[in-house]
Symmetry: C2
Subunit: 500 residues, 2 copies
């Protein structure tokens, strides 16, 4: 993986080439197909169904129409300019296609095709040839052996997996296409907005580090995720990663942390990965956010992309049930967060809304109250107090799910309660939930402190709940352990940045 | 919490009383209501909508019909025998109602009402009085201040939260009703079968330990979950827990593990919890499965209740993508599991189905194959080899979700591919998934080794996928980290049991 790259060519490529790849005005797919399940069908139908903003030109020697679009025999037959070409045809056809791309004035190529350096010596040689052709012709090359790219800013969803995350600020480079796309699919389900995704494949022309540098300057990107199995340019990677991380949090999942993982990585990308201890030390020194498991990439993306950074580690907890407050306080302590005593004045204010035997402390246990104002009052009292840097709020947003279960069985068994009344209850719950989320986001803007919600429910609405016109979003994890983990990582990152 | 209990009364109660509570033939609800959202409405509508197998008698002084059932003025007006009475009326009404229950020959009372020892001195005294009345009258008392009970064996869902898990082998005692019910709701969503749930409330008559002893002898229960904030009878608890854990895995989440958690617990259940270090040492010594966070209770329940116990720590990994194999191998090593090299004969057999450049090792990377037999062949080859104790299989079951996304966009954009063909693809995927799950369960029966699936997808079908007539169930976690954690805990438990 990785061939030596002439620096001046590389810089030019990075400045213009990658930009053309990730923001094309027109794309062609060589190998486009209507045979269900072929790569050329997966990519073409995904691009078309994803409503790509530019023009789409299917290329193949046989068909007339694919996805309702006219098919061209060859790249050179296309009557209009083509910025980006996807190639899915066999390895042996690629050099010829690249020559045509050069003649046509194409800017970038995403080479889906496998059978290059990941297979054998002949494949390695073919890959070298291909890179040389691309350099000669000024073609920016992604892959080969990549699962594709996603650029929500131009509605370009060009992967084999038909998942289409919303537009947002999280960029993702993955050395495993398969793992990367699954994570992107999870991101879509969790409502996490994506600025760009690239499966780096064999990294024949660009390494992960190059992609990171592109993302460093991409105005749409604020957070960068990286799934890494190996780095060819360790020192350079570290330098770049450290620099970027000062501006944009860099969250890294390293595959091959252990002996078993290293053996697996060797057979996967054919490359040796370093010792975990060394990599972790390097991450730590550079302040990178290294995560141990895939789901953590998601959780951190949701938090970092949606919430203000906490300025310290003091947490206020607001809960609808005592037990949840206890386990959340436990997790906070376990992860270096402090759950401070709250002053009498705050206790007094909140106490006006609660029965006399309430917890009178932090966690603030709302004792299952149904007064809809109390959670907001409690949250604002905590946020405006200088002794608190963040609030974790449990069980308000998820409650709607329980309300729905209740109205459902009430409808079934008690006809004395009118259906209209139950409809109203459901509507009110929904409206309250919306208002509550909006209010949280407003409070975050006012006090510049994060509020991490815990829904306790698999609401089907995802972790991130954007609010129209607002910089921050509501964030609701399913469990307190997820919320506490994210908060503790945000505190750690904030401290690192501050020290610099 | 907890009053001293005369031992002989206690034993009698446990032998017959708790059995009557958890398997009643008829129930009455004092305070039954048609006012939406009142406790008496929540419980009554839940019991009726949940299709309780026995008779239901609403009791209140005003109404004629509740949930279509005739309402009785008082317990003594009910013309038939009543096994179990739920009370939701205010604390001051309770002694009178208990007197009536005694006269009526009621066996057990679930006292939902709060306002007893959790509030003040007067509440404590009232609670003592109530216990005395119950003892006198031979009434088995659950609570007060309990969120109710769930007994799927008789279809009795008697809590404020309308969640109804399927019948199964997991029992759950919770010192937080609110946390317990949320976990039960998650269990329902994950397809985990429940034998009995009890919110222990103020534990006026029975402590957690007493419930554990009931579950020890309950033929429906194979796994026991416990959410614990405090133990009044530490030595006895440990003795009982240790004994039970030899037969039925006992999974414990301890609230108040840290300073912040202890303070929270103090205001929640009003009781001092011990030092975490002591509790953990005790758990370790007794071989209990102590977990740190709520979700782990769920994950372990799914695994322990559905899979054979592994006899060692050697894992075969089958994956549809290299990256997932790498991170899974990493997690295995991280948690004390071994990912051994596989012998040439197995590599040869599996290799017949795969392209020449496949991984040829463990993890077995199926390189995105679409040959539907390969995953099963690879799994059986691994399971029948004596060098492997368990298999983790990634990405087969969840694939259907991706297929569905693909057929959906194909339908939208390419009319040249017939709708019938796409229907067929979806049907075949579904059927394959079913066959695959059945086959996994059959293989587990044949080889008595667990297979932990990783769906990588939020399939909406839950973690546990039972197969008609089979002892084991398919288990599919969303992420590899969850599967690896469960497997490592099962290995640990198996070793502990073996040593004894």
């Amino acid at each position: 993986m990785g061939t030596e790259v002439n620096n001046s060519v590389k810089e030019t490529n990075q400045a213009t080439g990658l930009n053309a790849v990730f923001n094309p005005r027109s794309v062609a797919i060589v190998g486009a197909s209507s045979t269900f399940g072929k790569w050329g069908q997966l990519i073409t139908s995904n691009i078309v169904a994803g409503d790509f903003r530019g023009k789409v030109f299917p290329v193949n020697p046989k068909d007339e129409l694919i996805c309702g679009l006219p098919v061209y025999r060859r790249i050179l037959d296309i009557p209009e300019p083509v910025d980006l070409v996807f190639i899915t045809t066999p390895a042996k056809t690629v050099t010829g296609i690249l020559e045509e791309c050069g003649k046509k004035g194409v800017k970038g190529v995403v080479l889906i095709t496998s059978g290059f350096s990941e297979t054998d010596e002949a494949g390695k040689e073919l890959e070298r040839d291909i890179v040389n052709i691309c350099r000669e012709k000024g073609l920016t090359l992604i892959g080969p052996n990549t699962m594709g790219i996603i650029c929500p800013n131009v509605s370009l969803f060009a992967t084999g997996s038909h998942t289409r995350p919303r537009k947002g600020s999280v960029a993702f480079v993955s050395q495993s296409g398969n793992l990367g796309l699954q994570l992107i699919h999870w991101a879509e389900q969790q409502g996490i907005g994506v600025s760009v995704f690239v499966g780096s494949g064999n990294e024949a022309m660009f390494t992960c580090t190059d992609y990171l540098e592109y993302m460093e300057n991409d105005p749409h990107t604020n957070i960068i995720l990286l799934y890494l199995e190996s780095v060819v340019d360790g020192r350079h990677f570290l330098e770049v990663a450290r620099r970027i991380n000062q501006k944009k949090p860099l969250i890294v999942l390293k595959g091959g942390r252990t002996e078993a993982g290293r053996i697996a990585a060797l057979s996967h990308t054919g490359s040796m990965t370093g010792e975990d201890a060394v990599f972790r030390a390097v991450c730590h020194q550079a302040g990178l956010l290294d995560v141990a498991v895939p789901w953590e990439l998601l959780d951190l993306s949701a938090g970092f992309s949606s919430l203000p950074l906490p300025k310290g580690n003091r947490v206020g907890i607001v809960t609808l049930g005592g037990g949840w407050g206890v386990v959340t306080a436990d997790e906070c302590n376990q992860r270096g967060l402090v759950v401070p005593d709250i002053p009498g004045s705050i206790i007094e204010t909140i106490g006006r809304y609660l029965p006399p035997f309430w917890s009178k402390g932090n966690p603030v246990d709302l004792v299952g109250t149904r007064d809809l104002d109390v959670p907001i009052v409690a949250m604002e009292e905590l946020l405006k107090w200088e002794g608190i840097d963040a609030v974790i709020s449990l069980g308000i947003v998820g409650r709607m799910e329980l309300v729905r279960l209740l109205t459902q069985s009430t409808r079934k068994v008690d006809t004395s309660i009118s259906s209209e009344f139950l409809d109203q209850i459901e509507t009110l719950s929904q409206e309250y939930e919306k208002r509550y989320i909006t209010r949280i986001v407003e409070l975050m803007e006012t006090y510049e402190k994060p509020v991490l919600g815990v829904s306790l429910a698999n609401t089907g609405e995802g972790t991130v709940r954007p609010v129209e016109g607002k910089r921050y979003s509501g964030v609701f994890y399913q469990t307190p352990e997820n919320a506490v983990n994210v908060l503790s990582r945000m505190v750690g990152y904030g401290r690192f940045i501050e020290r610099k």
